[in-house]
Every structure is written in structure tokens, then in C-alpha cells.
Amino acid sequence: MAAVMPAPAASRHLMSGNEAVARAVWEAGVKVAAAYPGTPSTEMMEVVSTYPDVYAEWSVNEKVSLEVAIGAAYAGSRAFCCMKHVGMNVASDALMTLTLTGVIGGLVIAIADDVGLSSSQNEQDSRYWGRFAHVPVFEPADSQEAYAMTLAAYELSEQFQVPVILRMTTRINHVKSLVTVGERVPHTGAGFKKEPGRFVMVPGNAGKRIPLMFQRDIALRAAAEASPLNFIEDGSDKRVGFIASGPAYMHVKESFPNAPVLKLGFSCPAPFDKCRELAALVEQVVVVEEVEPLLETELKAQGLKVLGKEILPLQGELSPNVLKPAIAELLGEPVPATTPFAPMQVFPRPPTMCVACPHLGVYYTLSQVRNLNISGDIGCYTLGAGHPWQAMDTCVSMGASMGVALGMDKGRGESDKDKRIVAVIGDSTFLHMGMQGLLDMVYNKASVTVLLLDNRAVGMTGGQDNPGNGRDIHGEDAPRIDFAKLVAALGVKNERIHVVNPYELPVLFKTIREEVKVPDVSVIITDQPCVLIKDYHKLKPFEVIDDKCTGCGNCIDVGCPAIHVTRRGKEVKASGKEVDLAFVRIETSVCTGCGLCVQPCAPKAIVHHVPTAPIQLVKGGCA
């Protein structure tokens, strides 16, 4: 994204939580910001990169991004780092020691929890990191709060020399609401001052820092008790009082407008006295928190009688249609219907690969090769587990395809002793956390074929740049990693490294079939770009000659969403077996001419489309 003129102070804008945080990062005078993309956090760094006077980068993974931010904060500059919830699993090694050194310049870590798993492999509650690492946690409830709390977090961070976690959820990151923005206040750090007792965490030094961390906990709890971010709103209906934070607060206010509520913005360390204050106002207290019963457990340990996950779900969002029935039941009131009638039955519409996606050829080929166990990874290509390919058997965490494949190879049982093990990983995931796994495979003499799908982008999160495509976060030239050389440097033999065009199905098929037979580590790199990035060039579209189509359905098995069935039929083969027929057409307006479907078409019914009238396109003609 190109730099834009920031909106003037005091103006009001419709902003997502991500945009609001980015604005506050800029206003806070942050000098260094680093992140790895991950839904729903990605736009924070994308937007930060559009502001002037901030160094922004896509890091190779979340741990590196946090370390970059730590270095800047040690040097006295304000720093920012953001990630999705699982990103902190990767970055936590740094976090758990950072808490001992603390910071000089303010450091805010925004963690975006994908509550409801809109685009994640699990659901996690990042508030735990505050407890685990003894650092404060702020929880905004809308975009204005995300903005204000980011600014407040920098103040707190410097006041206590501690990193602050801004815990967001999808319902904060991606919701757009009004934000009144302010002025940028430049912040100049003093530069790094050597202080080995504080910054060199060897046992002797680190041990001395631990008591300071516990002292800081006490001071932070007092700060939370006094913080204006934690406040009680009294109400006339004293039957139930609520303690809520983040989006759950809005859902509570929506559902129970007359109930007393303790709103927690500075939620860790939890202000227990404030919670007692609310408890004294009401007949019973319900803690409404997404996802885990974290505060609830702490309050119970404090001797407070509260309810929480006894009546509320442990998974997903706590929206009004979850809260209202739960509380009605608690109060012995009639439980309101959640919908006027049951949702109508409509087919599912799972996400699909794009028209002409270079991964289509890979998964079509894998689905045609027998006797494989396929260890997969995280990215667009995870969709290969779905129809029609069903050519991915595991998906765990970023880079896991490597280690899991090695483990499958070494841990073979009776049923899979003759299976070939394949690992599938994307370029960015490989650079994020796959390289180490590949090295481990080489070192430990695995028999695994790795498919490294280099589409020159972090595809699933929107095509962000990475070290594999030679562009930095601003789209400017950057050194580009050579994957073939990289895997060779990790020890893969040169004759076991193949770079293939994934649109050439016969070559792909032959290469995969030959390599899986070799009891060694092979790497097959596919080298065509994501269709959504500027490196991709469209070709002339194809169409189906209806008379020639035999309805065999081979082209449908490629899985391209441009192929549509026009009619179905049945045919009785010479063997007496009845087979289903599906005659097709290609949606020429979206076909980009990749030619994948042409290759399995036996009757050669797919040919280049000849437009009957010139295609009229108006540049930028859509709202």
C-alpha cells in the first residue's frame, strides 16, 4: 500500500478495529512495527505501513516480529507488533523472557483472537498470556476503544516498563464503527544503553528480575483497580449483575439494558475490588467472557460467588442470542425463541480455490496418485482437503507438514508400511516455520516428498508480500529468496529438487509419481503465482463445445469454480455398469485460460473461446 495523507485530527471516521489501532500506533509516535499476516490481525500492519514516519515490516514469523519490536523498545523507541492468536504460540518464547527485562520504549502487542474460528485451526483465549507472562492486558469493545486503548497502552507500557497486550477478537478487528482520531505526538527514544543485568537474561541475571516482576504485578493490579478503563454502570434490575470485557460487553448492554455492569478494559491483572463492588450491588453476578472461564476462575478463587461457564458456552461468541436465553433460564423466565423459524436448508458453500489457482493442478494430481498419506499445512492449499480432491490428510500448525510427515514416515504401522508420505506446504508457511522441519527431515534421513507450492504471496490473508516474492511491505523491491538454493542449502540433494510448472499436469504427475518412490527427501517446487496478485497474467478464456462434451466429468475433478454442469445423465457401459454423466460449460467471463481443465478432457471438447461481441469493460466500474 502506498503512503496516504493521514486524516486530520478531531475528524470522525468509520474504521475497523484494525484501522483504529493502526491510527493510534501512528499517533503514539511508534517508530518500529512488525508482524506476520494472520486473520483477523492482518490489516493492522497493512494500514500501519501506509502511515509516514513508521518503519513497518512483514517479518518471516511472529516470533521474529516480536523480537524486532523488542529490539526497538530496548533502544527506547516505541514499538508495535501484532499477530493472530496462534501467532503468540510462536512468539511466546520471546514474550516469556521479555517480561523479565521489561522495555524502555513503549511496546504494545496486539493479539487477535479468532473467536468463532472464521479462519483458523483452533480457538484460543489470549488473555492467558497476560497471566502466564505477568503482563497487563487491555480489551477494547469497539473501534473507538481500540484506538483509545492503544494510546493508553503505550502510556502504561512506559510507566511500568512492561509490554502491554491488546487483546482483540474478530468482532473487534473486523467491525467498522465510528472513531474520532487525534494528533500524532512524535516520540524520540534515547537509544540503547547497555545494562547487562537487565538485558542479558542468563540465569544469574534473570533470577534477580523475577521478584521485580512479582512486585510489578502488585503495582499493576492497583493500577487496574484505579483505571478509568474499568468502571461500573449501575442499573435498575439488580437480579443479575454482569462482569464483561471486549465484544461481550456490547452484547451484554444490548441484551440487558437495565442490568448493572462492570466493564473491564484493563482486565489483567483483574481488579478484584471492583468486582466485589459490583457483587455488592446485585443479587448474583454472571461473568461474560470469551472464551475461557478465566476471570470466573480467579474470582471464585477470591471467594466471590459468581456464575459463568455453568450457564454460558465455552466456545464461540457470546452474542445476544446466546446471552438472552441463558439468563432467562437462570432467572426461571420463559426462554425466548432464538429465531422466528428454523433456518432454511440450503447447501453449504465452503470456501473454494480460485478460478485457475495454481494449486488446482497440484491437488488434482495428488488426487490421481494412489497410496499416499499427505501431511498438509496452513494456507489456501489447506482447501485441498476438501472436494473434489480430498488430497490432504493432516493440518496442525504453521510448518507442521514437515515434522508430521517425518513422524508419519518413522511411525508407520502395519496398514501404512508401504504408503508414500507427501508433505504439502506454501512458500510463506515454509519460510515461517517449515525450513526447520525440512532440515530435520534431511538430518534424520526421512523418506518424504515435499511439495513446496510457491505462489509468491501469503495467499489466504490477501496476497501479502514475503521474502519469496522480492517485494517488501510497501511493494518495493527486496531481496528474493531462491527456494531451490535454499532447500539445497538445507541438505536436499540436487537431483531430488525439481522446479515444475503446476499447470503442466503430465510433468507434475510424472515428477510426483517418480519422487514418491525414492526413499529420500525430495522437494518439488511449483513456481506459478497466485491468481490474485499482480504477477499473474490472464490468458485467453476457454469454452466447451457442447456437441463434443461426453459428460465424463473429468474436468470437474480439477475443481475449478469456473466449470458448471449444464445437464446430467446416465450411461450404461459395455460392462453393464451404470455411470453418471455431467455435461459442462465454462463461465468464460471468469476463465483466465490456465488450461488445466483442457488436459484431462479426452474428447477435446474444451477450446479457446471466440467472443461473439467485443467484451465491454469499464475501468473501475464497480462500487
Binding site: 468509520l14 486473520t39 472464521s118 479462519s119 469497539d142 468482532r171 473486523h174 467491525v175 467498522k176 464503527s177 465510528l178 465484544p247 456490547m250 452484547h251 444490548e254 441484551s255 461468541e317 452474542s319 445476544p320 442470542n321 425463541a337 432464538t338 429465531t339 422466528p340 423459524f341 428454523a342 433456518p343 432454511m344 440450503v346 447447501f347 453449504p348 458453500r349 465452503p350 470456501p351 473454494t352 480455490m353 480460485c354 489456501c380 482447501l383 472436494h387 473434489p388 489466504m460 490477501g462 470437474i556 475443481g559 469454480p561 466449470i563 458448471h564 454442469v565 446430467r568 453418471d580 455431467a582 459442462v584 467471463s589 465491454q616 469499464v618 473501475g620 466500474g621 464497480c622 462500487a623
Partner: protein, 202 residues
């Protein structure tokens, strides 16, 4: 004033989220507080998108509770059907008759409903159907469909259609008068399509 709940649904890539954002801008121009949220998942990949817009004096939860949507704007037939339970009983659906058939249906794993319009009518909810895609094509560019859809909802909002039109056209001002004019026509065509359908006997 109470909160107005507008649900915009379709599939990833159709422009559902942008359309909802323009509706939000219009509500804000009227002095309302507004919140817009999606249940989108990996929507860029052809998945289901339902975009919620709530506006009024002060909006708390960004999510529309099932059974409380005032209007449903459906960019695709089966998607309009999928979200009927979100509407207030008897509320109106403005629906593009376009059918986008996903690969799972092409593979024969599921069926596309024969007549989504009839299914919606069975619920007792009101529905107005029009072919936004053809209207856009007749105007010369399929991508005008988004503006046709916004025109379609323009007379079902608690503020004048012109406020929404201004917000639509603002998006094209920098791209030249020709595009502004095309979008003005697309907006008008969407309004007219719904107006005619409503006037005609069901």
C-alpha cells in the same frame, strides 16, 4: 429512535462488504451511529458472506439478532434464502435472481434449490426479486451490479434515497464523470426494478 438492522448477503467476491460499507456511510451522513460487521470466514474464496449493518442513536452489539433484521438485501438467490430466519416476521427481502452454483453442487454432493423465491414466499416474509446482473449487463458492465443492488434497497431505508446515491457517487468522483453517470443510471435502474416489481401483482 430505535436501531435499524440491515442484512446484506451473498458470496465472497460479489461486493457485499463494500455495499454494506456504503450503506453505513449513508447512515452516518444522516447523523446516525453505525456498526458494520461480517460473518465472512474465508470469504474471498467464494464462501458465504453475511454483512450486518446496524444504525441508530447509539449502536451497542454490532450483530443483528436472528428475527430482528428490517431488510435483507440478497446478492444471490440461495443466499437470500439461507438467511430468512434473520428477518423480523413479515419483513422484506430484496433479491437478485442470479444463481451462483458452487463446486459442491456441480460435483453432485448437494442440490441447488429449485425455486428460492417460492421458498422464501412460503415463510410469509415479503420478497421482491429482480435480475441485477442483467440490468448491469444492459448498462454495459456487469460490475455495475453492486450499484444496482444499492439502488434496489434505496426506497426501503429510513432516510431519503438521495443520501445513499450521494454516498455511492462519491466513490466514483475521482474516476471521472462517465463512471459517475453510469453508476447514477445503475442506481436508478435498481430503484426502478424494485418499484416495478412491487407495483406488479405477485
Amino acid at each position: 429512535m430505535s436501531t435499524t438492522n440491515i442484512l446484506v448477503v451473498g458470496i465472497g467476491g460479489q461486493g457485499v462488504m463494500t455495499a454494506t460499507e456504503i450503506l453505513a456511510e449513508a447512515a452516518i451522513a444522516m447523523g446516525h451511529d453505525a456498526k458494520k460487521t461480517e460473518v465472512a470466514g474465508m470469504a474471498q474464496r467464494g464462501g458465504v458472506v453475511s454483512s450486518h449493518l446496524r444504525f441508530g442513536q447509539r449502536v451497542l452489539s454490532p450483530q443483528i439478532t436472528p428475527g430482528t433484521a428490517d431488510v435483507l438485501l440478497g446478492f444471490e438467490s440461495a443466499e437470500a434464502m439461507r438467511w430468512q430466519h434473520m428477518l423480523k416476521p413479515g419483513a422484506i427481502t430484496l433479491m437478485n435472481t442470479a444463481k451462483l452454483v458452487p463446486p459442491v453442487v456441480e460435483l453432485g454432493l448437494f442440490d441447488y434449490p429449485d425455486d428460492p423465491l417460492a421458498e422464501i414466499r412460503k415463510t410469509g416474509n415479503k420478497v421482491v426479486a429482480f435480475d441485477a446482473t442483467s440490468i448491469a449487463q444492459e448498462l454495459g458492465d456487469i460490475r455495475l451490479g453492486n450499484t444496482v443492488m444499492l439502488g434496489a434497497i434505496a426506497d426501503h431505508l429510513p432516510f431519503p434515497a438521495e443520501i445513499l446515491l450521494d454516498c455511492v457517487l462519491k466513490r466514483f468522483q475521482k474516476k471521472g464523470e462517465k463512471l459517475v453517470e453510469l453508476n447514477r443510471r445503475a442506481f436508478a435502474a435498481g430503484r426502478a426494478a424494485v418499484g416495478q416489481a412491487e407495483a406488479a401483482p405477485a
